[in-house]
Amino acid sequence: MKKNSNGTVPIIVDNNRWVATDGRLLEVEDLEVEFRTREGIARAINGVSFYLDQKETLAILGESGSGKSVTAQAIMGILDTPPGYVTGGSVKYCGVDLLTLPDKERQTVRGAQISMIFQDALSALNPVFPVGWQIAEMFRIHRGMNKVDALERTVSLMERVRIPAARERVDSYPHQFSGGMRQRIMIAMAIALVPAILIAVEPTTALDVTVQAQIMDLLKQLQEESGMGLILITHDLGVVATVADRIAVMYAGRLVELADVIELYSDPRHPYTMGLLESVPRLDTRRGETLPSIKGLPPNLLAMPAGCPFHPRCRFAIDQCATGSPPPLESLEGYKPERFAACWRVGDSELAHSGHPQSGEVN
């Protein structure tokens, strides 16, 4: 046991990994990130809060510009600074705020205990080194293994992510693998040091559906085996439905809804979530049915509308929505696990239960 530099919370270390004594791996509170650009300050994240428990999959769902990827970067501590700055809030891993941790200590967490996979495996892997060498490097640097042992571990890891003929392919280069296989290699690197949390940013977006299914299945199995927490960052409502336990929906840098996956899909409570679910074409929507769509466009982060950022596109908007500060994320009564929504009208009967995907309501 040792004390961390914040001096408050003791860190229990077991097998190179910090231990979450209460099962709560990650707790993000009031996170704020802004981008200082030539055109002005863009507030990319405004007070985002959520938590992640052991063995849990939390999906952060949002469209481009919603702040979902920035959230991941801020947690990992890989935000591009400048122009991005974390201006408030905390990111507690096993009770320790990573944002106030000295760089050196944070370094021991990043990659080893919280690791990340990206959308584009080809650009995330180094093209001039064999993939096996790149994976083995993780063991040599972080675990001080010798070359032979590291290679053995690499082969077994590649087998674990189901790369066929792993031993023969250890010396191959990234471009010699298909997109799906490269994604597996990146996953292998990410789980090499048995992280407590894996953050997957659009892990299947660049892949074909048949391969997509394989990768999601693999991630799920790895999670079951190791008990790691998974944060899935995506815009794909289909992928999320099949793997997530809870879903956080982001819009224009804010969390607008956070709920259990079944409840979110069967009974969305925020108008944005409703619109999103309605506008996804499904395999059983027939030809000729008009696809309900959300009118308009997401706001420019440099020129946010007053009030709720969604109100210009919202079909339920009332006068209150267009003025003052945005509605806070509030807990809804009677849900277990807790469920949240950020909408002034969340309690109104007109809005409640009107958002079922099959209702076919149209703007």
Partner: protein, 340 residues
């Protein structure tokens, strides 16, 4: 939709040579499109789906004659497109137009929206006299849901969805009969995607366009298509109307593809039976013998049947329970009712 066939592709083949070594001699061919035939009727939408590398984008470019085919023909209004030269070909281009995938690279960043949408009239001045062009461009912008006053703006001043509308406006400027849409909504966010799909449907109703809608998103394709062709390694493996393909698919590849599509409904995740395909798509430079899908086929067969799959190339044919236009290229085509 009418019965009139407007576009007919027969045995379209496109091989790209693979050159290696210092003297760049040809050592093989990538068989991007390998014997594709279909008909497109006036005012209908034919969806083309398949995974990356199946040749669907090459097919789109062949139909647009941005590429010359290795062999085969495309009949448009009774003439073979590939026989046309010079001004005859240019005239035909008025009738077949294209909308591209990437809203960021499909518009010239140095031209204004007015210049981009008006360029078709510069190239085909006979369509619109010079004086009327600005008005026509503004009408087009209005038609695709953009503010006609934004005619002097540049592409980077618009969002992805708006840019795609500009691309659509350029595509329909010459009043084409066929519009080839190459992944027109895959780069867009979900909420904006629905807007563009609805726009394409509206334009079809108003202008009587026929679409070839190329995409990898099976749900979007069903939504917009009358008929659907499923491609695998350069060949159509199954073709039929939307209901036949999505609810009663007969080819094991189509069945696997449909089962892999994640359904945005968490309550269905355990009731759906997913077919996992082994391995990756083989290289189109060296496709498997016989049925191209046999290396990944999941269907149980006897050894004799497997030998047939390995050696005999299956043709598209009508399945026993089929109803006229539902064709499948599998020796052992069998309906699997798809649960969605």
């Amino acid at each position: 939709m009418s019965e009139k066939v407007i576009l007919q592709a027969s045995e379209l083949v496109k091989y790209y040579p693979i050159k290696t070594g210092v003297i760049r001699h040809v050592t093989g061919h990538v068989r991007a499109v390998d014997g594709v035939s279909f008909e497109l009727h006036q005012g209908e939408t034919l969806g083309v789906v398949g995974e990356s590398g199946c040749g669907k984008s090459t097919l789109g470019r062949l139909l647009m004659r941005l590429e010359e085919p290795t062999s085969g023909s495309v009949m448009f209004d009774g003439t073979d497109m590939y026989d046309l030269r010079g001004s005859a070909m240019r005239k035909l281009r008025r009738d077949i137009q294209i909308v591209f995938q990437d809203p960021y690279t499909s518009l010239n960043p140095r031209m204004t929206v007015g210049d981009i949408v008006g360029e078709p009239y510069d190239i085909h001045p006979e369509v619109a006299p010079k004086g009327s062009r600005r008005k026509r461009v503004q009408e087009l912008l209005d038609l695709v849901g953009l503010n006609p006053e934004h005619i002097n703006r540049y592409p980077h001043q618009f969002s992805g969805g708006q840019r795609q509308r500009i691309g659509v406006a350029r595509g329909i400027a010459l009043n084409p009969k066929v519009l080839i849409c190459d992944e027109p909504v895959s780069a867009l966010d979900v909420s904006v995607q629905a807007q563009v799909v609805n726009l394409l449907e509206k334009l079809q109703d108003e202008l009587g366009l026929a679409y070839i809608f190329i995409a990898h998103d099976l749900a979007v394709v069903r939504h917009i298509s009358d008929r659907v062709a499923v491609m695998y390694l350069g060949k159509i493996v199954e073709i039929g109307n939307e209901e036949e393909i999505y609810e009663r698919p007969t080819h094991p590849y189509t069945q696997a593809l449909l089962s892999a599509v994640p359904v945005p409904d968490p309550e269905l995740k355990d009731s759906r039976e997913q077919i996992f395909l082994a391995g990756d798509v083989p290289s189109p430079a060296n496709p498997p013998s016989g049925c191209r899908f046999h290396t990944r086929c999941w269907r149980e067969r006897t050894d004799d049947q497997k030998t047939e799959c390995k050696t005999v190339i299956p043709e598209l044919y009508e399945h026993a329970d089929g109803s006229g236009t539902h064709l499948s290229a599998c020796h052992f085509a069998k309906v699997r009712y798809n649960l969605v």
